[in-house]
Symmetry: C2
Subunit: 162 residues, 2 copies
C-alpha cells in the first residue's frame, strides 16, 4: 500500500477552501495562462498545482545536490510572479521581481517597488523547490505578500519614489 498523496491528505483534512484564497486563485490563473494549447483544460485545479507539492518522503528521495530542470525553475518564477501580483493587487503599486540562478540551483530573488526592496531571498536547493501541502503553499505565498505590504506601509514614500 502506498502512502496517501498530498492531495489526498488535503482532501482528507477537509481543506478544500485553500484553493479559494487570493494567492491560490492567482497561481491557478497564472499556470492556466501558460496553457496555450489547451492541454490542461481537463485538469482540475489541484492536479494543475500537483508539481508544486513535494512531500517529506519525496524530498528525502531527492538528491541533496542536483541541477534544477526548467520545469522547477518555471514553477519558482510563477510562484514569485504571483507574490508580485498579490502585492500589486493590495497596494496598487507595481512590484517587479528578478530571479537569478546558476545551473546548480543557487541564486537570488529580489522584489522591488519604487525605491523599496520588498523581498530579498537567497535561493538554495532549487531542484527541490516545493511545499508539503497545498495549504503550506498558500500560506507561504500569502505570508510573503503580507510581509511586503507591511514593508510598504512602513516606508510609503520610498515605495513611491522613482
Amino acid at each position: 500500500m502506498t502512502s496517501p498523496t498530498a492531495f489526498e491528505n488535503t482532501v482528507a483534512h477537509g481543506d478544500s477552501n485553500v484553493m479559494a484564497t487570493p494567492f491560490m486563485k492567482c497561481l491557478i490563473r497564472l499556470v492556466r495562462a501558460q496553457d496555450t494549447h489547451g492541454a490542461w483544460e481537463g485538469k482540475s485545479n489541484t492536479d494543475l498545482l500537483a508539481d508544486f507539492i513535494v512531500t517529506k518522503e519525496q524530498r528525502h528521495e531527492m538528491p541533496i545536490i542536483g541541477d534544477p530542470d526548467p520545469d522547477v525553475i518555471w514553477r519558482l518564477q510563477i510562484f514569485y510572479t504571483c507574490v508580485g501580483l498579490g502585492i500589486e493587487e493590495r497596494s496598487g503599486l507595481l512590484a517587479s521581481s528578478i530571479v537569478t540562478m546558476n545551473p546548480e540551483g543557487f541564486g537570488r530573488v529580489v522584489l522591488t517597488t519604487g525605491r523599496l526592496v520588498l523581498l530579498s531571498k537567497t535561493l538554495r536547493d532549487v531542484h527541490r523547490f516545493g511545499f508539503e501541502t497545498l495549504r503550506k503553499l498558500a500560506d507561504a505565498g500569502a505570508k510573503l505578500v503580507d510581509d511586503a505590504i507591511a514593508t510598504i506601509e512602513a516606508h510609503p514614500d520610498v515605495a513611491r519614489a522613482s
Copy 2:
C-alpha cells in the same frame, strides 16, 4: 591611414589623470584580479581596459541587434560590481548587484543596500556595451556611485533596514 584609437585620443588630450580616479583604480583592480594565470601582467592599465572602449565608428559598424558574447557580459558585470564597491567604499554599506539578461542582450541590473534600491536600469544592446573614451567610462561609473550615495543620504534609515 587609420583614425586614431580612443587611447591615442585620450593621450592626445592629456587625459592621463583619468586612470587615477577611484572608480578607474577599482576597475583596474577588479580586471587584474581575474588574471589568474598572469597572462596580462605585461599589459598597461589602458590596454587592460581597451575592450571597454567602443568608439562611435566601432558602434556604427556593429549590428543593431546581436547576441552578446560572454566577454561583453563579463565586462558589464565587472562595471556594475565596481559601482557597488564604490558605493561600499564611500557609505560603508554593502551594495549587492543583480544582473539578468536574456540571450538577445536585453535585461536589467538592480543594485540594493538594506531595503533601498540604489539603481534599477533596463539593459539594452548589451552586445554594444562600452564607452567612447576612458574619460567617459570613468565619468559614467563615478556618476552612478554619486547618484547611489545621494539616494542613501535621502533615505538613511531604509538603507540600513534589514
